[in-house]
C-alpha cells in the first residue's frame, strides 16, 4: 500500500506561513550596521597598511582593490539593511519560530517540548547598545538551536521565562 503524504484528513493546522513575525529591537539595526562597518574598516585598514608597507605587491593593484572594497561595502551595507526587515521571531503556543536572511532565508521552528535549556547572552558591541540575545537549545545539534538576537533585557527575560515554563524544564536561574 502506498501512503503518500496528504494533509486532507486533518483539521486546519496553524501554518508557519501565516505567522506574524515580531521584529527585534530597533537598536539591533544599528548593531548590525556597526558590525558590518567594523569588518569593512578592518579590511580597508589591511589594504592600506599593505599599500604603505609595499607588501604583497599591493601597490600595483591598489586602485582596483579599493574600488572592489567600495562595491563590497555598498553590497554589504545594503544586505545588512535589508536583512533587518526579514529578521523576526514568533512566540506561538507550542513552538518558537525564527526567520532570518534576506538572500539566503531560513525559517526554524522549535517546539517547546523539545527544548533542553535556554540562555541569555551578550557580546561586547551588544552590551554597549544594551541588547541581549536568547538562545534556545534543543537536542538536535547546533543547527536546530534558535538564537534570537537584538532583545532588550526585559523582553529576553520574559521570553526565557515563558519558554522554560512551556518546556517544563526546571532550571536554576
Amino acid at each position: 500500500m502506498d501512503r503518500a503524504f496528504t494533509n486532507d484528513q486533518l483539521y486546519d493546522l496553524p501554518s508557519v506561513d501565516d505567522v506574524n513575525y515580531v521584529p527585534v529591537h530597533r537598536a539591533y539595526y544599528q548593531y548590525r550596521l556597526w558590525v558590518t562597518t567594523l569588518w569593512l574598516v578592518i579590511m580597508l585598514t589591511g589594504i592600506l597598511v599593505c599599500y604603505w608597507l609595499r607588501w604583497l605587491g599591493i601597490q600595483y593593484v591598489a586602485e582596483y582593490l579599493v574600488a572592489g572594497w567600495m562595491l563590497l561595502a555598498i553590497a554589504a551595507l545594503y544586505i545588512t539593511h535589508r536583512g533587518y526587515g526579514i529578521l523576526g521571531y514568533a512566540i506561538r503556543q507550542h513552538d518558537v519560530v525564527f526567520r532570518e536572511g534576506w538572500i539566503y532565508r531560513s525559517i526554524v521552528a522549535a517546539p517547546y517540548v523539545r527544548v533542553q535549556h535556554c540562555e541569555i547572552s551578550q557580546g561586547p558591541i551588544a552590551r554597549w547598545l544594551s541588547l541581549h540575545q536568547i538562545e534556545v537549545f534543543t537536542a538536535g545539534g547546533s543547527g536546530s538551536d534558535v538564537t534570537i538576537p537584538g532583545l532588550d533585557l526585559d523582553t529576553a527575560n520574559r521570553l526565557r521565562t515563558y519558554i522554560i515554563h512551556k518546556a517544563g524544564v526546571n532550571e536554576p536561574s
Binding site: D2, R3, F5, G141
Partner: protein
C-alpha cells in the same frame, strides 16, 4: 550478597587497570610535552643522544607510573540508590554522581590486554548538553557483567518509589534474547568483497605517493629509471592488477577485524550488537533511545542484496558515530524485522518516495558545465590534449553521476514516519518517526524562491536530514503537520 549490595560500597578497579592507565597517561604526557622534547634535543648541550633518549624515556615512564598508580588508588565507583557515583582525581578530587536514568549506553570493551587478564572495560555514556562520560578501565569480566546488568536493570526499573528494593534473584530476570542477525565467515567474506574498494585504494595511492616522495628526497631521480613505452604499458597492467588485489585484501582485512563474529540480538525492549576480532565491542540501545535508522548498499552489494544498517541514538554529534550500532551484511528482510520490532510494522515498505524537483538536476548540470568550460579553456590555452581529455572524462562522469543522484534523491512522509533516499550508484535510506524530531526548518536561496522551492531541514537528536529542492507548497503543510505531531505526541522520545 546481591549485586546491589556489592556495588553499594565504593569499588576499586581491577589491578590490571594500572597498566591501562599507565599506557593512557604515557600517551597524554608524550602528546603534551613533545614540543619541549624537540627543543631539549636540539638546543641542549652535553651528553650524547642515546643517554638523553634513555633519560627521557625513563623519566616519562617513572612519572606516568607514579601518576597512574595514584590515579588507580584514588578512583572508586559505586552504585548508591539511583546514582552511579565515581570519585576520582589525584590533586583535584572530583565526585561525579550520575542519575541512572540519564545513562544512554553502557558499552563493554575488551581489547587484547583485557582478554589476556580476563577483565573488561566499561564505558558509560550520557546525552544532553552536560556531556559526561565515565570510563572504568578494567573490571573483572564477571563483575563487569554484573555491573552492566545492575545499571541496566535499575535504569529500567521504576525509580519513582525512590528506593531500589528488588530481591537479588529477581534483580536479573532472564531477559529473552533473540538473534536478529549474525555473520558467519562466508558472509564476512562477501561483506569484505563488496566493500567500497575505492576507499581502500586511496590508502595504497597515499602509500605509493609517500614512497615516491621519499625516493625523490633521497636524491634518487625516478625519471632516470623510466623505461620504454611498451614496458610502461606492461608495468601499468601489473600495477593495476596489483592495485586491485591489494585493495581487495585491505577491504577484507578491515572487514574481518571490524565485524568478526558479529551478532545482533533483540534483548527485552532493546538491541545489542557484539563484534570485532582484536577488540571486542558490545553496544546496546533501548528502543526509546533509537532516533534514526539508516541503511545503504553499493553497486556490488546489490548482487548479494545486503545492506549496512546503522541504528543511531540520541547524543551530541561528536559521539554519535561511536554510539551508533553498525550492523553489516544484513538483508532487506532483516531490516524489515527490525522495523517490525521497533515500529510494529515494516514502515519503509509502505512509503512511496517522491522525487525532488528537476531543477536540482538542472542546477548541478549547470554548475558542472561552467566548470568544464573553464577547464576546456585552460586546456586550450595550455595546448595540452591531456587536460582536455581529463576534463572530458570528468564531465561525462559528473553528468552521469548527477543524473543517477537525481534519480535516487527523494523523500517520503506518511504523517507518522519520514524517510529520505539518496545515493549515486548505491542507495542510502534514512527512516525516522516524526515525533522524534527536535526542530523543523527550511532554507531557500533566491533561485529556489523564484521557483517556489525550499531545502527542507529536519533536526533529530542523532543528526540532521536535508532534502533539497522540495516544492514549498508541499513542505510547509508537512512542516505544520510535523510540528503538530511533535507538540501533541506524548510518547517518550529518548
Amino acid at each position: 550478597m546481591s549485586p546491589a549490595d556489592i556495588f553499594a560500597q565504593p569499588q576499586r578497579q581491577s589491578a590490571i587497570a594500572i597498566f591501562l592507565i599507565i599506557f593512557r597517561t604515557y600517551r597524554v604526557i608524550v602528546k603534551q610535552i613533545w614540543p619541549f622534547v624537540i627543543v631539549w634535543f636540539i638546543g641542549g648541550s652535553g651528553g650524547n643522544l642515546s643517554t638523553r633518549l634513555s633519560l627521557l624515556v625513563g623519566g616519562i615512564a617513572v612519572v606516568s607510573m607514579i601518576v597512574s598508580i595514584l590515579r588507580y588508588y584514588r578512583f572508586t565507583y559505586s552504585v548508591v540508590g539511583d546514582e552511579l557515583i565515581v570519585e576520582r582525581g589525584v590533586l583535584q578530587r572530583s565526585r561525579v554522581a550520575l542519575p541512572l536514568a540519564r545513562i544512554q549506553t553502557i558499552n563493554i570493551e575488551q581489547n587484547i590486554v583485557h582478554k589476556v587478564f580476563n577483565v573488561i572495560g566499561v564505558k558509560v555514556d550520557t546525552a544532553g548538553s552536560a556531556t559526561q562520560e565515565i570510563t572504568i578501565s578494567a573490571v573483572e569480566a564477571r563483575r563487569g557483567a554484573l555491573l552492566q546488568q545492575l545499571l541496566l536493570s535499575k535504569r529500567v526499573s521504576d525509580t519513582s518509589s525512590g528506593e531500589y528494593l528488588l530481591p537479588a534473584e529477581a534483580a536479573f530476570p532472564p531477559v529473552a534474547e533473540e538473534v536478529v542477525h549474525s555473520v558467519d565467515l562466508a558472509s564476512l567474506l562477501i561483506i569484505g568483497l563488496t566493500q567500497n574498494h575505492i576507499r581502500s585504494g586511496w590508502i595504497i595511492i597515499l602509500f605509493i605517493g609517500w614512497i615516491l616522495q621519499n625516493l625523490t628526497e633521497a636524491g634518487i631521480e625516478i625519471d632516470e629509471y623510466l623505461p620504454s613505452v611498451a614496458e610502461v604499458l606492461l608495468l601499468g597492467i601489473y600495477l593495476v592488477v596489483a592495485f586491485a588485489v591489494l585493495s581487495l585484501l585491505i577491504s577484507i582485512g578491515r572487514t574481518i577485524i571490524q565485524h568478526y563474529g558479529l551478532t545482533f540480538v533483540r534483548v527485552g525492549d532493546g538491541f545489542r550488537l557484539e563484534s570485532g576480532l582484536v577488540t571486542r565491542r558490545s553496544v546496546a540501545a533501548r528502543d526509546t533511545k533509537i532516533q534514526v535508522l539508516t541503511w545503504s548498499d553499493n553497486l556490488l552489494r546489490k548482487i548479494p542484496g545486503i545492506y549496512d544498517l546503522s541504528i543511531k541514538q540520541a547524543g551530541p554529534q561528536a559521539i554519535n558515530i561511536k554510539k551508533s550500532i553498525r550492523v553489516a551484511g544484513i538483508k532487506r528482510r532483516g531490516i524489515a524485522a527490525i522495523q517490525e520490532m521497533l515500529y510494529g510494522t515494516d514502515v519503509s515498505a509502505g512509503l512511496r518516495i517522491e522525487p525532488v524537483n528537476i531543477r536540482w538536476l538542472y542546477r548541478r548540470l549547470f554548475v558542472w558545465s561552467l566548470l568544464s568550460i573553464v577547464g576546456a579553456v585552460v586546456g586550450y590555452i595550455m595546448q595540452e590534449t591531456g587536460v582536455i581529455i581529463a576534463v572530458s572524462v570528468v564531465i561525462v562522469y559528473a553528468y552521469l553521476s548527477s543524473f543517477m543522484a537525481y534519480r535516487k534523491l527523494g523523500f517520503a512522509c506518511d504523517g507518522e514516519y519520514f524517510s529520505v533516499r539518496r545515493g549515486v550508484w548505491g542507495e542510502q535510506y534514512t527512516l525516522m518517526p516524526v515525533f522524534k524530531l527536535q526542530a523543523v526548518a527550511y532554507h531557500s536561496s533566491p533561485y529556489q524562491r523564484r521557483h517556489g522551492l525550499v531545502t527542507a531541514v529536519l533536526h533529530t537528536a542523532a543528526g540532521t536530514l536535508r532534502v533539497p529542492f522540495v516544492p514549498r507548497d508541499t513542505f510547509v503543510p508537512l512542516m505544520d503537520h510535523c510540528l503538530y505531531i511533535v507538540e501533541t505526541d506524548q510518547r517518550e522520545w529518548m
